[in-house]
């Protein structure tokens, strides 16, 4: 089956991101395809490239990136939700006249249309929230 995940919770503040990553890995382990994880609402904080959790805690940002690298899972971040929360890539930083960036590949800033598309294209869309 084709799955999509919608993540609305920020990492390290509540369990949503942990639950979602655990679920994502299990989907794949059972032979399903995970097309994309869409990060929306507080979930955009999962794309923070400068996250540096203590070494004895799960590194969620790296966990998502690994899903992309090893299983081709797309990591789509809602651009409107991200910008207001301080998450932007180099292109957006340029547009907004800011130096530096807080989001980088494999996370991609994109529009909500991608979420609509994901939900309707996949067999199952599962939401994890705060």
């Amino acid at each position: 089956m084709r799955y999509g995940i919608l993540l609305l919770g920020a990492p390290y503040s509540n369990q949503a991101a942990h639950s979602a990553l655990r679920f994502a890995r299990t989907i794949i382990a059972r032979g399903h395809q995970l097309d994309s994880v869409f990060f929306y609402h507080e979930g955009v904080h999962n794309a923070a490239r400068l996250a540096a959790p203590p070494q004895d805690e799960p590194h969620l940002v790296d966990g998502w990136a690994e899903l992309q690298r090893e299983h081709g899972v797309k990591l789509d971040v809602c651009i409107a939700a991200a910008l207001r929360r301080g998450l932007m890539d180099e292109e957006q930083a340029g547009r907004h006249g800011k130096e530096g960036h807080s989001v980088e590949r494999p996370f991609e800033l994109t529009g909500l249309g991608q979420l609509v598309d994901l939900g309707l294209r996949c067999d199952r869309l599962v939401t994890f929230a705060p």
């Binding site: 089956m1 799955y3 609305l8 369990q15 949503a16 639950s19 655990r22 679920f23 299990t26 989907i27 382990a29 059972r30 399903h32 199952r124 869309l125 599962v126 939401t127 994890f128 929230a129 705060p130």
Partner: protein
């Protein structure tokens, strides 16, 4: 069959009312995160009508030290069982 997940404790949040209202007669409810409290005998009240359709996530029970205290009327599934439930369900709704 639709699968409904709930992640808030019924001892703390009233959102379980929405989940129950939205559940058709053959729908299933899976308690995850803080909602696993709802599988304890003391707090299972709101879910008593769901015999056979009430599930609770094992890993989240274990993390909270609650696996042994689970009510017999809640069916314990691990995260593989969670995925399996989403395979069987036409849709998955998340209440939070």
């Amino acid at each position: 069959m639709h699968l409904h997940t709930l992640n808030q404790s019924p001892a703390q949040s009233q959102v379980y009312r929405q989940a129950l209202a939205a559940m058709a007669d053959d729908d299933c409810l899976l308690l995850i995160e803080e909602a696993v409290q709802g599988a304890l005998p003391h707090l299972i009240g709101p879910f008593e009508g769901l015999a056979g359709r009430l599930y609770v996530l094992e890993e989240d029970l274990v993390a909270r030290g609650l696996l042994e205290r689970c009510d017999d009327n809640a069916r314990v599934v691990d995260v593989e069982g969670f995925v399996s439930l989403t395979e069987q369900a036409d849709k998955v709704l998340s209440w939070y």
